[in-house]
Each structure stands twice: as structure tokens, then as C-alpha cells.
């Protein structure tokens, strides 16, 4: 692994972000949703589609969605990015955009995503696909994550209740978010007694299935100050891949976040205690426990104990998934971009009732496949430059 990465720290920023159609958006196609989220983000930056010269997108139902969205918008981007690493794709788009912006290859990068997974009439194939060596055993998407959860329980004594704490914390954040799809009281007992899906998971350990779209706009830092009151500067970021299907994951209790995280921290030049909020891709409850460990917020094996007692919930010492996450806010299939939207909104100070006080550094983390691809971004306010 290269040790002298030269990431353009703080030289690019997210200047606008938007969501659209969270929950149910019947009759709108995935590209309609993605296009509208992009327009809303551009509008809030006083930009138009004509300004976009780098377009990044991944849709669930269109292998060539980069081309499709360029056509839909009627633009001819200098850069069209369509990297598909699952739900982490959009964070890798941001890494590419940062380097392209810094090199002067483009001036305005739009990253967008949408899916009508809940209300469409055609069932999309699960993003991780289906291995010919696994299909006969009929694993649900949840099953691969459940196998990791079971192994974590076996090796570290992580309990069913500790997994449930992740879902409860997410719900308590969602209860502060007017856009969140799933609200209401949720207790650890509620999670344990919910409909079983793939042991040890019940349905409340699993992300939602909703419609929804998200978009962010990135520019170079010099321009960011003219567009946004409080841009979210990209201080560092890295991605790593370990496998595609779960049987090929070397250690079911260690994800590629253990590689992407340290690189992102080194580039950003920040310490763990500097991070004010974490937005972690919580496809399943075990994800948050694994990522807290792999990103270095607690030792390996301690994630279950770490999330107890509301530590990551509203009022806790470490705010995690402040929008309610994929577990209670929104999950159209590839949630990663929503972690960037929320990180931006927390730094911008526009998160309303769920706003964490004085956010200067936010970590956004995306997961793709079945714990296969991991991408970590660290954003900072003006004060961190």
C-alpha cells in the first residue's frame, strides 16, 4: 500500500446537497428521482445543469446510467462517472471528483442517485448480485450480513441486545428528522420481538426498503466560499475492497474500513476525538458495530459494548447516523450518498431539530455489496483548513 498519498486536502468542497422523494414516490422512475435531486442541489447553489461538467451517478436499473442522465439533462459532461461498487459508489465518486476538480479537469461536479425500490412494479435484482456458488442455498441479502453478525457474536460475545441498540439509536435520531420514513418509539425488546428474517436478525435489524434520491454538488474550495455559507471541505478520503460474496471475506469481523479509515484519517490530519458526527452506512445493525471498530472508535470486538446505553443516540457522546440512517430514515438500495448529504447538512448547520452543536468535522462512510467495498470521507468546516 502506498504510504505517500497526496490527497488534495481541503481543496474541494461539497457546496450543496439535497434529498428528494424519500419514502414513497409512486410513478417516478429512478432517473426521474435522481434528476430531481440533482436539480434541487444545484438550485440551492444557484447553479444550473448547464454548469455541470462532471456528472457522477449510479442507478439500480441502468448499467449505463452515466450516459442516461447526461442525455436526460441534455448536457455533455467532460467527465462521466458511473463507478458501481454498490452503496459505497457515491463516496468513490466524491474521491474521483475531488482529484478531477483539483487538477482543473472540471469545475462543477454533480453526484446524484435515485431509486424507486419501494413503489416500482419491477423487482430490481439485489445490488450484490448472485454467485453461482451460493444461489442454490438461497441467501437473502440479509443472510450474508447475518453470517458476519453471528461470527462477531461467537468471537467477541456481542449480544442480540447490543445489535438492537443500534436500531434503537437510529430510530431515536429519525424521530428528530421530519423526512425520516420510519418513526415512533422503538425499544430493544421491540427489535428482538420483531419478525425474524435471517438469524440473528429480525426485520428491525435490516435497513428499510424505500424510494428516495440524494445529490451533492462539489466545487474547488476557492469557489465554495462564494456559493455556500458553510461548505463541507473534503479533507481526506479512501476506498478499499476485500471481496464480492461473503464466503470470500477473509475475516467476517473485519471490513475494508480498517484500510480505508486509517488512510482517510491520515490524509485529513484529524484525530478520532475531532470527529463531531459519524454517518455510517447501516444496511444492517452489525454494520455500525463493525465500522465503529474498523474506523478505530473502539477496539475490535468492543463495538457491541460501545453502542450500549445510548452512546451513539441523540444526547450520547458520539452522534452516529443523525438522520436516522438506512435503518429508520431512508434506504432505496444504495444508501451511501445519503451519508454525504447528512454530513454536509451537519457541517452547514441546517439539520434542524437533529442538528448536533458546533459540528466542524464529519465522517461519512459507505458500504457496498456484502461488506465488500468500503469508502470513508472526512469533511471539515472552514475552521479545519
Amino acid at each position: 500500500m502506498t504510504t505517500n498519498e497526496r490527497f488534495p486536502r481541503g481543496r474541494t468542497a461539497v457546496v450543496a446537497a439535497a434529498t428528494h422523494g424519500i419514502g414513497e414516490a409512486p410513478g417516478q422512475s429512478s432517473i426521474d428521482l435522481a434528476a430531481m435531486a440533482g436539480l434541487k442541489a444545484l438550485q440551492s447553489a444557484n447553479l444550473s445543469i448547464a454548469d455541470v461538467d462532471a456528472l457522477y451517478v449510479a442507478l439500480p436499473d441502468d448499467m449505463l446510467s452515466g450516459l442516461s442522465l447526461a442525455e436526460y439533462y441534455g448536457i455533455h459532461p467532460r467527465i462521466t462517472g458511473n463507478n458501481r461498487t454498490g452503496g459505497s459508489a457515491f463516496l468513490t465518486h466524491a474521491l474521483d471528483a475531488a482529484m478531477a476538480l483539483d487538477a482543473g479537469l472540471c469545475d462543477v461536479a454533480l453526484i446524484t442517485y435515485g431509486s424507486n425500490t419501494r413503489t416500482n412494479t419491477v423487482r430490481y435484482p439485489a445490488p450484490p448480485g448472485s454467485s453461482p456458488y451460493e444461489a442454490a442455498y438461497k441467501p437473502l441479502l440479509a443472510s450474508s450480513y447475518a453470517l458476519a453478525a453471528r461470527r462477531h457474536m461467537h468471537e467477541y460475545g456481542t449480544t442480540r441486545e447490543q445489535l438492537a441498540e443500534v436500531a434503537v439509536s437510529a430510530r431515536n435520531w429519525a424521530n428528530l428528522n421530519p423526512d425520516a420514513y420510519m418513526k415512533g418509539d422503538l425499544s430493544v425488546a421491540d427489535v428482538l420481538n420483531a419478525r425474524p428474517v435471517s438469524s440473528p436478525f429480525t426485520v428491525r435489524d435490516c435497513c428499510l426498503v424505500t424510494d428516495g434520491a440524494a445529490a451533492v454538488v462539489m466545487t474547488r474550495a476557492d469557489r465554495a466560499r462564494d456559493i455556500a455559507n458553510r461548505p463541507a471541505y473534503l479533507l481526506g478520503g479512501a476506498a478499499a475492497t476485500t471481496h464480492r460474496y461473503i464466503a470470500a471475506m477473509d475475516d467476517l469481523t473485519v471490513t475494508a474500513a480498517a484500510m480505508s479509515g486509517p488512510r482517510a484519517f491520515a490524509q485529513a490530519g484529524v484525530k478520532h476525538e475531532d470527529i463531531d458526527v459519524l454517518e455510517l452506512y447501516d444496511a444492517f445493525t452489525i454494520n455500525v458495530i463493525l465500522f465503529l471498530e474498523d474506523l478505530g472508535f473502539c477496539p475490535k470486538g468492543e463495538g457491541g459494548r460501545f453502542v450500549e446505553g445510548g452512546r451513539i443516540a441523540p444526547g450520547g457522546v458520539l452522534p452516529v447516523n443523525t438522520n436516522g440512517g438506512g435503518l429508520s430514515c431512508v434506504h432505496p438500495g444504495m444508501y451511501g450518498l445519503f451519508t454525504m448529504v447528512e454530513a454536509f447538512q451537519q457541517i452547514a448547520g441546517v439539520a434542524g431539530e437533529r442538528q448536533v452543536k458546533d459540528v466542524d468535522v464529519a465522517l461519512s462512510h459507505g458500504n457496498g455489496g456484502v461488506l465488500s467495498s468500503q469508502a470513508t470521507l472526512i469533511f471539515g468546516s472552514d475552521a479545519t483548513l
Binding site: 454467485s131 453461482p132 456458488y133 451460493e134 442454490a136 442455498y137 438461497k138 441467501p139 437473502l140 443472510s143 447475518a146 453470517l147 458476519a148 453471528r150 461470527r151 461467537h154 419478525r195 425474524p196 428474517v197 435471517s198 438469524s199 440473528p200 436478525f201 460474496y245 461473503i246 464466503a247 470470500a248 467476517l252
Partner: protein
């Protein structure tokens, strides 16, 4: 030379009642799932070998179904030779599966299709 049609050859072995994996002649490393080169080294001198069939449960999950459809299990198996694969345990209750239990391969048929399953190891 390695298999040029690894998946097809694996399935032909399975149809004839044999569970086969691959091994690199140069590195000695065992490989599953079948492919044209050993992961990590790229060694393209894989030959088919018959594993012992013995392994242990690395992890497991039980998928819930709407009654009367029975729930089913999924396991990750650590083969004695090293590779890990996904399978299903037969001949054991879903509530009796434990991480680390000793198991052995068995080929059963799902209609016309041969399927690689595992059962509790004999004598355990």
C-alpha cells in the same frame, strides 16, 4: 494448464457424484470456488483434486419462512484444506447448529440438479 471452463467442469464432477476443488501445482494452495488462476498469486497451474470432504461450521444463519414453508439454514464451511464456501446443513435441526461443529460433504439432488450439502460428521 488450469481448467478453462472451471464452473462447467465443477458441475460435471458434481453431477457424477464427486465434490472437487482445485490446487495449484506450484504453490500447493487450495482454491474454491473454481477459477482459472489461484487468487493472490495468479498461479495458472490449477489441477482438480478431491478434498477430504471434512470441514467445520464457520458461521450460520437460519432464514425464516412463512409457515408451512420450513425455515432453512445457510452455513459458511471452512474446508479442512482451507477454502471457505457457502452451503446448507442437512440431517441436523436448525436449532442444533453451532459455530465450530464438525461436518462432512454430501451431494444431494434438488430435482435434476446436484447440490453440495454438508451433514454432521460421522462419529460425532
Amino acid at each position: 494448464m488450469s481448467a478453462t471452463k472451471p464452473e462447467q467442469e465443477f458441475r460435471e464432477f458434481l453431477a457424477s457424484g464427486r465434490f472437487m476443488i482445485q490446487r495449484s501445482r506450484s504453490t500447493g494452495g487450495y482454491v474454491f470456488y473454481p477459477r482459472v488462476a489461484e487468487p493472490g498469486t495468479g498461479a495458472a497451474d490449477l489441477e482438480w483434486v478431491e478434498p477430504s470432504g471434512r470441514g467445520t461450521v464457520h458461521s450460520f444463519t437460519v432464514v425464516s419462512q412463512k409457515p408451512p414453508t420450513p425455515d432453512y439454514n445457510i452455513v459458511l464451511v471452512d474446508l479442512e484444506e482451507g477454502p471457505r464456501l457457502m452451503s446448507r446443513l442437512t440431517g441436523v435441526g436448525n436449532d442444533e447448529i453451532t459455530v465450530g461443529m464438525a461436518i462432512e460433504a454430501v451431494i444431494e439432488r434438488d430435482g435434476e440438479t446436484p447440490v453440495l450439502l454438508f451433514r454432521p460428521a460421522a462419529g460425532k
